[in-house]
């Protein structure tokens, strides 16, 4: 009974190398699956929201309604709640981030695509750079560089000597830790989630090819992969929300008059 089983090559667990694809055509890195998915997401988002807003009516069609739900969620749930008074001019930015990240995350569970673009760290990093530039720009424009740094590092109500200890920590938080955590969290969640799904799918496939007794467990593995896909969907939505929420919070912090 063991003989055919032993003949099978050892199971190769999924690793980070599974996240790299050969170019679909040519040899450019720009022709790989993640970039293709990214471009597709832009087309998808543009088409969806153009069509949902095209024939805007008082009594919305189902398409218009679904588009408005997403927009209202970002505008009221994130923009208005977090930024407050001046939220209106940041809504397009937040809306773009939210839909972009959400669509690209959800590609991780869509059949035939099954790859969350954001599990390549370059993509979260590039969105984070935009957020980083925006919230510093907003603050510097509103307060001026000197006052911005002063308010950032020297919070009121602390003995003067303590500033020596606190100021560098505050500075580091604003300029290094915030963007780092923003990008790493999105990347890490998507990477780990995809790896988990890969493990159960590849494991199930491997067990199917094994001895009869082992085949039974393949069902469990595939079942778990399907269950985890739904779980992943939740995570993907949540991460898109958290990313946008934190971007809004940083902007709100940049606009706030005092701490």
């Amino acid at each position: 009974m063991l003989a055919p089983h032993m003949a099978q090559p050892a199971f190769v667990p999924p690793s980070s190398s599974d996240f790299f694809f050969n170019p679909a055509f040519g040899s450019s890195i720009l022709a790989t699956k993640p970039v293709m998915l990214l471009l597709f997401s832009v087309i998808l988002i543009s088409v969806f929201f153009t069509f949902s807003a095209r024939k805007a009516a008082i009594l919305p069609s189902r398409l218009q309604f679904s588009g408005e739900i997403v927009y209202n969620f970002v505008r009221d749930g994130i923009g208005k709640d977090v930024i407050g008074e001046e939220y209106q001019r940041f809504v397009p930015f937040l809306f773009a981030i939210f839909t972009f990240v959400l669509t690209n995350n959800l590609f991780g569970v869509v059949p035939f695509m099954q790859f969350p673009t954001m599990s390549h760290i370059g993509f979260p990093v590039s969105i984070t750079i935009f957020v980083y530039l925006v919230y510093h720009y907003v603050a510097i424009k509103k307060k001026g560089l000197g006052r911005y740094l002063k308010e950032m590092c020297f919070m009121p109500g602390v003995p003067k000597a303590v500033y020596v200890i606190l100021a560098p920590v505050e500075f580091l938080t604003y300029f290094a830790v915030r963007p780092l955590t923003l990008a790493m969290r999105l990347f890490g969640n998507m990477f780990a989630g995809h790896l988990l799904l890969l493990l159960f799918t590849l494991g199930g496939e491997y067990m199917l090819k094994s001895a009869l007794f082992v085949k039974f467990f393949a069902i469990l593995s595939f079942g778990l992969a399907i269950g985890l896909s739904f779980f992943e969907m939740g995570i993907q939505c949540l991460q898109a929300y958290i990313f946008t929420l934190l971007a809004a919070l940083y902007i709100a912090g940049a606009l706030a008059d005092e701490h």
Partner: protein
Amino acid sequence: MATNEDGAFWTIIAYLISGLGFWGGLGYVGDRFFKTDFLTIVGMGFGLGTGLYLIWIKFIKENPPR
């Protein structure tokens, strides 16, 4: 909506990381410079304390729990 709780959570994490990173890093540099082996951990502890102090100022002192 759990807006404020979510934001607070990540602000707290960010402060703790910066505190650890800055003062722990300074301790590490000190260790390398003075050829000692305890400054890194002392710096990390100090940094963690600093982070907690900042969190206390931002979240508890300014809006005391009702």
